[in-house]
Amino acid sequence: DQQVKQNSPSLSVQEGRISILNCDYTNSMFDYFLWYKKYPAEGPTFLISISSIKDKNEDGRFTVFLNKSAKHLSLHIVPSQPGDSAVYFCAASALVGGKLIFGQGTELSVKP
């Protein structure tokens, strides 16, 4: 039972353009969502998060949007840079309890 889904395994974007990574979840108990960036053979690093009381959170070039009714969130990177090339994971948890579930990841390639 995949509670957090990233349906696009890969995404290719031109440098300077917008990258949009999508994530869907099924568990209505989830109320805190996170995005991570991961390079091969390394642990993921935290990028940005959003709680269910918000629909948008922005940090520099990164913006996360949450649509609770659709159980969908997205990460926008503007402008995209070659250094953004990595695998991006979305994750979800409930504020009560410890479970933290990740999606399958989307490999972003930003071409110069």
């Binding site: 805190y32 053979a41 390394e42 479970k99 933290l100 990841g105």
Partner: protein, 113 residues
């Protein structure tokens, strides 16, 4: 500041041998602790998580077990490894409460031969 240590970085083990991976956290108390596995080309699969000493939740029935003998120590074990246990194992911690980010160790690349 908080730090997380995970070792070893790489491990090659024969089928049927035991496994013990250790993770320790410094600079925080009573964290939530996690073990994840990333199989080749796959996502991060939650294996175990713990909200306190001796409290272990298992997400996937499998050949592995976890223990938390001390507040900031989390151990992943197996009595007999299978080929399918190969993968990249990641330990993580976060503040109790659920509304914060998790911080990951550098991972252990396990190859079962």
């Amino acid at each position: 500041s908080q730090t997380i240590h995970q070792w070893p970085a790489t491990l090659v083990q024969p089928v049927g041998s035991p496994l013990s991976l250790e993770c320790t956290v410094e600079g925080t108390s009573n964290p939530n602790l996690y073990w994840y596995r990333q199989a080749a080309g796959r996502g991060l699969q939650l294996l175990f998580y713990s909200v306190g000493i001796g409290q272990i939740s298992s997400e996937v029935p499998q050949n592995l077990s976890a223990s938390r003998p001390q507040d900031r120590q989390f151990i992943l074990s197996s009595k007999k490894l299978l080929l399918s246990d190969s993968g990249f194992y990641l330990c993580a911690w976060r503040e109790i409460g659920g509304g914060t980010e998790a911080f990951f160790g550098q991972g252990t690349r396990l190859t079962v031969v």
